[in-house]
């Protein structure tokens, strides 16, 4: 039995079958991006063991396919087992060995990247300083209370827990959170005073001034989902209170967008007032301490800060084609005493503190057109060097193998 499994695992026909399935998966997973969106398709096809049913040019095909993880692992097993069984040292095989070692490295590297890499974004306007970056996809509900004069206590509840619904408790929080509704994507609408409004979503905080309605989840690359939840906070004593928490209020760029939108509709003064209503702090008191809370993009804090000094956004004359995107930033790190300026631009990222900062987007402040804004993509990927090494090893391996063939071929031709 073991022999048969071993023979199966090491056979070249298995390689052929696995490669064929890989081609099928990559093809289907690419075409499906048109229907399911890039991110969703990536998750479902390439980062799963089995794909249950796939979409093909707008049609649903109810057939299972082996997913990216399964094929990757099988290929890896097949490759390693094949080498154990057939390994013999000879110069003629050097190329094949190198190629396969490189491919193992690439497969392992991609797996570790999947597991350990993290992408966040740092968005700021000229003059602003950030010591954290934010996730573009994930949100968190944070509760903040003053611990003492200098420090604050912060408890972050990941949005996926809210999405599950039910009751949430945390040992550091003196109250229970009940999720009444969770909308992965939503839209705000101001409740103009003195007008016939429907009943508010919640009688407290921003719920008094804004209605939110659920909108379909977007799958496009360029759009984001902006969640809103209605929660109930149940203190140890006293009646529970209902609140609306929304990323529309917890994300500065969205608040700016709301301000700009209402400024266009009702003039800058009204627009600003409405914007201020959106960011009115929401707080509850429990056990004598005051906790403020917001739903915001999930943050990752850094032990250093980055200040955006200047943005440059050049286009080719007479067109909108971007010619140059760059941000001049200052890094300040109290631990190392560093305080220096550096430029981040297209194809020239900044690598600092285990993170890499890429120039991602450029824009203008929604309210002040003279003020440039910049978004840096912040990536932590401990295995970022493996593709470089893998590429070199495979490249050399294939080249060696090809040269061996070529030299053999040419000398045989000459001999004829």
């Amino acid at each position: 039995m073991m022999d048969r499994i071993w023979a199966f695992l090491t056979s070249l026909r298995l390689t052929v079958v696995l490669l064929a399935f890989s081609i099928l998966l990559v093809f289907v997973g690419t075409v499906a991006q048109a229907d399911e969106g890039l991110y969703q398709a990536q998750e479902r096809y390439f980062k799963h063991w089995i794909v249950w049913g796939f979409s093909f040019f707008g049609h649903k095909v109810p057939l299972p396919l082996p997913g990216g993880y399964l094929l990757g692992m099988m290929l890896l097993a097949n490759l390693v087992a094949g080498h154990i069984k057939r390994f013999e040292w000879s110069w003629r095989k050097l190329g094949i060995h190198l190629t396969h070692v490189g491919i193992i490295l690439l497969l392992v590297g991609q797996l570790t990247t999947d597991l350990f890499s993290r992408e966040t974004q740092m968005r700021f306007a000229e003059g602003e300083t950030r010591h954290y970056s934010e996730s573009a996809m994930n949100h968190e509900l944070v509760f903040i209370a003053d611990a003492d004069a200098d420090t604050q206590e912060l408890v972050a509840v990941p949005a996926r827990l809210l999405a599950r619904g039910g009751e949430l408790r945390h040992e550091r929080l003196p109250f229970t959170i009940r999720v009444k509704s969770w909308w992965p994507n939503s839209e705000p609408a101001f409740r103009p005073p003195m007008q016939q409004n429907g009943p508010p979503l919640a009688p407290n905080g921003i719920g008094r001034h804004f209605d939110f309605k659920q909108t379909p989840e977007t799958r496009k690359m360029e759009d984001r989902n902006i969640p809103t939840a209605v929660i109930e906070i149940v203190p140890p004593k006293g009646p529970p209170g209902a609140w609306v928490v929304s990323a529309w209020a917890g994300d500065e760029t969205l608040v700016a967008a709301v301000r700009a939108s209402y400024s266009r509709q009702a003039g800058p003064e009204m627009g600003n007032q409405i914007g201020d209503r959106l960011i009115e702090p929401q707080t509850v008191e429990a056990n004598g301490r005051k906790w403020s809370f917001t739903l915001r993009p999930a943050r990752v804090y850094n032990p250093f800060s980055i200040t955006l000094l200047k943005t440059t956004h050049k286009v080719y004359p007479g067109t909108d084609i971007p010619k140059d995107f760059r941000s001049r930033v200052r890094i300040e790190n109290p631990q190392t005493g560093e305080n220096r300026e550096v430029e981040v631009f297209m194809n020239s990222p900044l690598r600092y503190g285990g993170l890499t900062f890429y120039q991602y987007q450029m824009g203008r402040d929604e309210l002040d057109a003279n003020r440039g804004t910049s978004t840096l993509q912040v990536v932590r990927n401990p295995s970022w060097l493996t593709p470089y090494a893998g590429c070199i090893i495979v490249g050399v391996g294939l080249l060696v193998q090809f040269m061996i063939h070529l030299v053999g071929f040419v000398s045989r031709k000459r001999a004829v």
Binding site: L12, S22, V31, Q42, I96, M221, P317, N347, C391, K413
Partner: protein, 649 residues
Amino acid sequence: MKKWLPFIVAAAMALWVLSTVRAPADKDFAYTEFGRLPAVFNGRCQPLDSVARNSLLQIREKQAANIEPWKGEFENPKLIPAIEWLAAVMMKPEVADAWQVFRIDHPELVSLLKLPEKDKEKQSDGKHYSWNQMQPSLDALEKETKRASKVEGAHRTPFDQAVLKLQQRLMLYTRLKNTLQPQDAQDWPRELAEYEKLIVPGMAAMHAQQAGKEHDKAVLEKFFGFLQRFDTMSGVEPPLVVPPHHPERSRDGWMRMGEALMEMARGGKLHEAARHYAAMAGAFRSGKPDEFNRAVDAYRQTLAPKLGPELTKADRECFFNRLQPFYISMVIYVLAFLLACASWVNMSEPLRRSAVYLVALAFIVHTAGLVFRMWLESRPPVTNLYSSAIFIGWGAVVLGMVLERFYRDGIGTVVASAVGFITLIIAHHLSLGGDTMEMMRAVLDTNFWLATHVVTITIGYSSAFVAGFLAVIYVLRGAFTRTLSEATGAALSRMVYGIVCFATLFSFVGTVLGGIWADQSWGRFWGWDPKENGALIIVLWNALILHARWSGTIRERGLMNMAIAGNIVTSWSWFGVNMLGIGLHSYGFMDAAFWWLMAFVVSQLALIAIGLLPDDWWLSLRSRPPSSRGGSDGKRGKDSNGDSKLASA
């Protein structure tokens, strides 16, 4: 005679090539000189000649204007070069407006605009129409444009697309008309002089009006009338023809004529360019060649001290435009292809040799064009889809010629000329989209990665196509002729195998380099973007062919069928993924290209079907004993362990 045939054929074609190098002299108006003047369009500095050719390509799908399209090919219709057409559009629009240069292919669009159908009496060819002919029904067009532009790209009908295309063509034409003077100018030099005189009193009147004081209303109205026209003029975004005031400080400060004229009102001097172009326009309109030529010359001399590099670049580009190296090499490739195929009929060595010489000649012209383009742009060979087509062809010709060098059996020549010709045709159709030397967006603006990743992956495409076309030859010759001997089959098999190895090397390295570039520019080695996946599929497909061969799953015929399928895989990666319209590499939906791609895929599937037919159906195999038929698949004994194959392959 037979011995000399190859030399005679090659020399005749070489003479033809040389004859195109010399410029024909201008008869009266110095159009060539005019075409060499620099302007900025599509974000880059280029000669007016390029503006003319690229615009005419978009409007008429040809680089020359036929202003009597209703006449047959042999009735000597009047053809004029693009620059002559552009000169009229810019300086004598009432003449250009009557020329039937707008190509309309969709019959429903023709009837929507109430245009005449093909009718020689009424001077209509049913395909090309003039600006004037379309004027009465522009409302109908606008209504359809509004509707069609709201439809999402992928759901547009051919009619919608035709409407939008025509709208774009009309837009471009309007832009060109407003390049040098307002499109409604009757006597531009006189109007310009009038405006110049009006500036001081006009500004004074304007200030007085703003201060609420008494002012000359007639002057103000006239002055505003001019400003309004200039504002409209730059509003349609014509080419930027007015060079920067201080090119030594910034070479990007080009202006539109309308902007330069408005700048004057704000206290600037009349720009030299405005004065000279007005002189040209005046002379052109009144039909005075000598005056026109003097004005062109005078303007050039004012540019020379400060804009030397721009003038030189414009001259070079004009030379390149006139040469049309890719068109020339395309013609020679066709000839070479026919000769090489003919050489198989009677195994004629002189014919084969002639074909080889022709491919070499075409290759020299092809290479010259490629290098000249690189030099003009200061870029590696591949910067966009257009240049990828040119480079894929070039790479395939190199590989084909190497094969010919070793085998001397015409196969390499046929593949080289066929792939060279097809890719250049594809490039020609891609050039209809407009300027092929467009500027690179910031994220792509890195010669290092363009030179490494893009070039390597494109060589991967070339070699995959060469392997595929070799296999096509195997199938066609094997099934339909008796010329596929055992030796030829074995030779083809070795060629395909070697080229697949080569393709694996380049597509793999190219793909991973692309990943590294992505890691460098946005921190993601692999993003499962459609174009990345397309490249990955080519790598996997080549790996699959090699492993299937080593494991004994396929033999000679299977190898050929898989190599033909490689054509489908490669063309999908090259074009198909762009049509999905997703991801960072997408270039938008290309309707016409989609049907060609489908046709290509179907043709390749048909060839594979032929490749799968039993031996007895193949003319070449029928006469051979079963043992030497080069192995249809599945007849081989136990040989699942590929190592023996590995060593012997």
